[in-house]
Structure formats: C-alpha cells, structure tokens
C-alpha cells in the first residue's frame, strides 16, 4: 500500500529517536485506554462476587457456569456468537454518535421498529410469492431506513432545538415499543395465532439462513463487517476526522467551517441504521415475525458494550462477544443456581456504574503521562 510505504519513508527521514518517541507516546496513551477499562471490568467482577457471597451463592460456581454456558462447548460458542450479533450492532449505534459527542441510547427503539418494519413489509411480498432473496433485501432496507429515521429524529431535535439527546432517544424508545405493540395487538395482528400477539410469520422458506458450516446466522458476519467499515470510516476518512473534531470541540469545529449539525444528523442516521439491521436480523433469522420479544434488552446491553469498548468499533467486537457469552449463559445460571434472570441485569448495571466511575482514573497515573513544558501560573 502506498500509504504504508509513504509513512515509512517519512518517518524514516525523521531521526530514529523521534520515531521511538512518537511510538512510545502513542503506546502510552493507548495503553491507558485499555488498562483502565480492564481494571474496571475486574473490579466489577469482584464486587459482583461479593454480592453473590452475601446472598449465599458461590461466585466460583457462577463464573464457571458463565464460562461453560458461554464458551465451553461448540454449541455454546455458537449460541454466544448468535447473541453477539445484535450486540455488535446496537453497540455501534451508541459508538458512532458518541464520537461526535452525543450520548445516544435509542438503539432498543430503533431495533424494535426496524424489526417491525421488516416484518410488516414482508407480508405483501410473502403473500405475493416474491423470491426470498428479493424479500430479504426489501426487508433489510425497511429495517435500515426505519431505524435510521427513528434515531435521526433525536439527532435533528438535538441539532435544531438543542434537545438533550439522551432523554429524547430514550423517550423515542418507549414510543417505538408502544407503537409496535399498538399495531401488533391491533390492526396487524396475526389472528391465526391465539397465543402471543405478533405479526404474520414470514415462513420458513423466507427466513435468512445460517453461515455455512455453522449454526450462526449471517447477522454476525454483517455486524463484524460493519464494525470494521465504521472503524475505517472514523479513523481514515475526512468524514471521520470531521466527526472526531466536532465531537472533541464543537466550537472549534464551527470555527473551521465544519457543518456540525449535518454531521450530527449523519452520525445518528448511521447509528439508527445499525440498530435497524439488528432488528431485521432478529426477525428474518430468528423470530420470523414481530412481537414483544423484539424488545429483549439488546439495545441497553449494547450501551454498556460500547462504553466498555470506549466507543471504538473494532474493540466492540470482542466486548460484544464477551457479553454475548454472559447473556447466553443466563439460562444455565438461572436454572443451576436458582437465581432470577434479572441477575444478568444486576451484573450489567454494576459493571456500567463501575466503568463510568473509572473514568476518573484517567490522567492520574504518571506512567501514562507525557507532559509538555510546564507553564507558570
């Protein structure tokens, strides 16, 4: 690649001492961003273990079951990967707006509405006997567009009126779930199904298949691909640079003539699209229809995943797999240790609080600091 060669030549022209200094500065800054979240993860694990002890349960048994249920057998690994797919996508839905400085948590709503839209748009296509490939493409598009628009609303409200995006995206999530329930229980309800209210199933023939040789659906591949693409977008394109500039200091961005408002809305559309695709996969690859199970909390877990990965799309992949494992092992843990399924919620909440508190540790340890000349005050 021309770039690599170029940068090698350029840095080679600079004296070797400079190259080492550059590298060590970058390494130390980067190390801080990895060590502290890992520390936070370990600390929250410790606190949760204490919590279990107080309740008379065995922490070692818990962690053992999580490892076994999430990563122990080929079956459990595939189950984990299956659960990681939507987590990667909903985490991306938080990460991209985070880079432009927004705390946007509307992934759950965009997922639900994206899945709902794909299920609904499938109905006329399935009834008209369209080809599965076309149906799936149309469904995916519906999911993407709906999800993008839903989070886009929060972005527009923030840009045009300064409405706090955390509150508005959360409100939109509640609204989205209510809208879906309204239609699913009402006009779009599949009346042949007396049990759980849902839309008409799209049918086995139309469902998305699994990645050949595995039990995991294509959502995982799409998720990983999107994560890599968005990482490249944020770090190696002018769009990404503009986004990071605006997120780092909106006033400076305006002074540079950047269209901050458009960038905000753009990031929200991308975020919503990611969550919408997740909804599409939930419908097309797993459920086959839209109902209240779409609101399974992937959106909220995705928030934690993104924060733990420091909103870096590449780091989101391993973190999502970790949490996919925790979620996947939830059933096993619940049965074996006789604990409510809210256990995972407690663990997630605790981890999130500890992680956010650990933000205070940045800049405190000399080993990570490389200061310039000091000013007099």
């Amino acid at each position: 690649m021309v770039d690599v060669a170029e940068s090698l030549i350029v840095t080679a022209i600079g004296p070797p001492k400079d190259r080492w200094i550059d590298f060590s500065v970058r390494f130390r800054t980067g190390a801080e961003y990895v060590v502290i979240p890992l520390f936070a993860l370990a600390l929250s694990g410790l606190l949760f273990a204490l919590f279990l002890l107080v309740l008379g349960k065995s922490p070692t048994q818990f962690f053992e079951l999580v490892v076994r249920g999430g990563f122990g057998t080929a079956f459990s690994i595939q189950n984990t990967l299956q659960r990681s797919a939507p987590l990667i996508l909903t985490a991306l839905a938080v990460a991209v707006p985070a880079r432009i400085g927004l705390v946007m948590i509307g992934g759950e709503g965009a997922l639900v509405l994206g899945g709902f839209a794909s299920a609904v748009i499938a109905i006329p296509l399935v009834m008209g006997k369209a080809s599965p490939a076309v149906t799936l493409i149309v469904m995916a598009s519906a999911g993407i567009v709906t999800g993008a628009l839903w989070v886009g609303i929060a972005g527009i409200l923030r840009h045009a009126r300064g409405v706090n995006e955390t509150i508005s995206s959360l409100l939109l999530t509640y609204i989205g779930i209510a809208v879906m329930n309204f239609f699913v229980e009402g006009s779009l309800r599949d009346l042949t199904n007396p049990n759980k209210p849902s839309t008409m199933p799209i049918g086995e023939a139309y469902m998305m298949g699994k990645i050949t040789g595995t039990e995991v659906h294509w959502g995982l591949a799409v998720g990983i691909l999107l994560a890599i693409t968005l990482h490249i977008l944020l770090s190696r394109t002018t769009f990404g640079f503009a986004v990071r500039l605006s997120g780092g200091n909106p006033r400076a961005a305006l002074a540079q003539g950047l269209p901050v408002g458009k960038l905000v809305v753009g990031c929200c559309l991308i975020a919503g699209a990611c969550a919408g695709i997740a909804g599409f996969f939930e419908v097309a690859a797993i459920q086959g229809r839209a109902n209240a199970s779409l609101a399974a909390g992937y959106g909220f877990t995705g928030i934690l995943v993104s924060f733990l990965a420091r909103h870096n799309p590449l780091a989101i992949i391993p973190v999502a797999i970790l949490f996919g494992g925790i979620v996947a092992s939830g059933g096993l843990v619940q049965r074996r240790m006789d604990m409510p399924d809210a256990t995972v919620l407690v663990l997630q909440g605790l981890t999130f609080v500890v992680l956010l508190t650990s933000e205070t540790l940045y800049g405190r340890f000399k080993i990570f600091q490389v200061k310039g000349a000091v000013d007099r005050t």
Partner: protein
C-alpha cells in the same frame, strides 16, 4: 347525572389525574432539588422501580404499608447517594451515570422483586375528595391518598425554603455558580451529594405510591419511563417546585386519558394512549429547549442544557 358518559369521563379524568400525578410529583420534586443544586440525575427511573419494590416487600413482611413507604424512601436515598458520590469525581459524565444507575436500580429491583410478584401486600388507604357530593360514582372517582397532600405540602415547603432559608439559598448557589459558592466557603460537592440523596428519597416515595396505591401491585412492568418523564417535567416547570406540581397534574391527566376512556368501554388504541405521555414529554422538551425563558431560569451549572 350519573349516566352522562361525558361527565363520567371528565370526573374519571380528574380523579385519574390526581392519582397518576402523585408519583410524577414526587419524582419531579426530587429531581428539582437535585437540579437546583447543579446535578442531573437521569437514574430516577431505576429509583422509582426500586422504591416500588422495596415498599411492597417491606409492607408484605411487616404488615405496615407506611413502613414500606419509608423503606422506599431509604432505597431511593441509597441510589441517590451513590449517584451523588460518584458524580463528584472528576471526569465522570453525570448523564451516562444516570443511565447506568437506571439500569442498576431496575436490575436490583427485578432481582429481589421476583419473589413478591405473586403475594399480596397491605396497601395504603385512601380518602375521597368527592365525599361531599353525595354521588357514589364521583366519590369513587375522586379517591386519593394522603401522599398527594404530602407531595403538595413538600412542594410548598421547597418553594418557601429556596427563597427564605440559608440552606435553600446554598442549594441555589451551588447550582448556579459553583465558583461563587466555593468562594463563600460552601462545599459544593457535599451540597450536591445531599441534594441528590434527598431527591432520591422523594423519588423512592413516588415509587411506593405506585406499588402500594395505584396501580397497587408489584410487577416488572410497573413503570416504564415515568422517572424519565419527570426529568423533562422539571425543565418544563423551569425549576420551580409549585410549577412542578402543576406540570405533574398535566402529565397525570395525559396518563389518565386511557384508563378513563376504558371506564366507559372505549378500549381501542390502548397502546396509543400509552404512548401519549411520552409524546407529550417529547413535545414539551422540544418547546422548552428552544425557549429563551427556560434558558434564563436554568441553574447555571446544569450540564443538560449547556
């Protein structure tokens, strides 16, 4: 008169508004106190749910619903204290912490609350504001709980305290200009810690109302978003406790439309009316956010509108 459906719906709405508004009132007043001191606590949704569960559980175990109310306040104070302590550490994002506390509080509530979904616990009593009308329907429709009166009294007390007591002014100072407060020797972090804890206490009581009075049971769907709406409510009320009560009544009315219509047999669109409070909240936030008057009244240190 008793057969006029329009009147029935109207009275049902008034009663419903009074009932539904009470938890909003408590959460809003708690958040008002917290925000006046310069902090935003978005985690009150979790506080509401945890308070509801604790109230129900303690009432079940001790037989006294009012002990349950106190326990709910205590649980809320505990969550508020965590929020208040953590947010004073440098570089911690108080908006993200609020979301984390919401998830944590809800998780803890569901975890311990699973055992209390089935059993029945003693509830809070009620008295009727319509006892004098002689019409049994109006009397039933206007049944409220003492907590409503407590809420209104708290609001009046807060409004008076903000203008006429040293502590009230210290809270306002901490929220408006931390450097000025510090220059006067006030420990701003401590003030915010206590305000957030007290705010959590009030929000917890709001939760107790939900599980021990109306709707009067504990389950995992008890609250969805009411704590969040209360935060928006405070902005709409421009951080004035009395206006918080009025805004809570407005939200109560919006939330009471669905059940009121149901009482005369209109059951369609249930979920649409469920969405009404959220949509109202979003509209209100949009209007307040651009409003110059709100911007003038905002406590200067609040990060939500900076």
């Amino acid at each position: 008169m008793s057969d006029n459906p329009f009147l029935i719906v109207l009275v049902a709405m008034v009663g419903g508004a009074l009932r539904v508004s009470t938890p909003f009132m408590f959460v809003a007043l708690g958040e008002c106190l917290t925000e006046k001191s310069g902090r935003v606590n978005l985690g009150l949704e979790g506080t509401l749910v945890l308070g509801a569960m604790c109230a129900y559980a303690i009432s079940f175990h001790t037989g006294s619903p009012w002990l349950g109310v106190l326990a709910a306040g205590g649980a809320g104070a505990w969550l508020g204290a965590i929020h208040g302590y953590v947010c004073k550490l440098p570089r911690v994002n108080d908006i993200a912490i609020g979301i984390a506390m919401m998830l944590f509080g809800t998780g803890v509530a569901f975890f311990f609350g699973k055992a209390y979904i089935q059993p029945s616990a003693p509830r809070l009593g009620s008295f009727s504001l319509g006892g004098w009308t002689g019409s049994p329907q109006i009397e039933t429709a206007l049944e409220v709980n003492a907590l409503l009166i407590v809420g209104v009294a708290t609001a009046l007390l807060m409004a008076w305290a903000f203008a006429n007591t040293k502590w009230g002014l210290i809270v306002r100072m901490s929220g408006d200009s931390a450097p000025a407060a510090r220059a006067m020797g006030v420990s701003v972090d401590l003030v915010r810690f206590f305000s957030t804890t007290a705010g959590g206490f009030l929000a917890g009581i709001g939760g107790a109302f939900l599980s021990l009075y109306y709707p009067g049971s504990w389950n995992q769907g008890l609250s969805s978003g009411q704590g969040l709406m209360a935060v928006a409510l405070v902005i709409f009320a421009r951080w004035d406790p009395v206006r918080c009560v009025l805004a809570a009544l407005l939200f109560g009315a919006a939330g009471a439309i669905g059940p009121a219509l149901q009482s005369v047999g209109i059951t369609q669109g249930y979920y649409f009316f469920n969405a009404a409070p959220y949509i109202l909240t979003l509209i209100i936030m949009t209007i307040s956010a651009g409003s110059k008057r709100a911007m003038r009244d905002v406590p200067g240190e609040l990060s939500i509108t900076k």
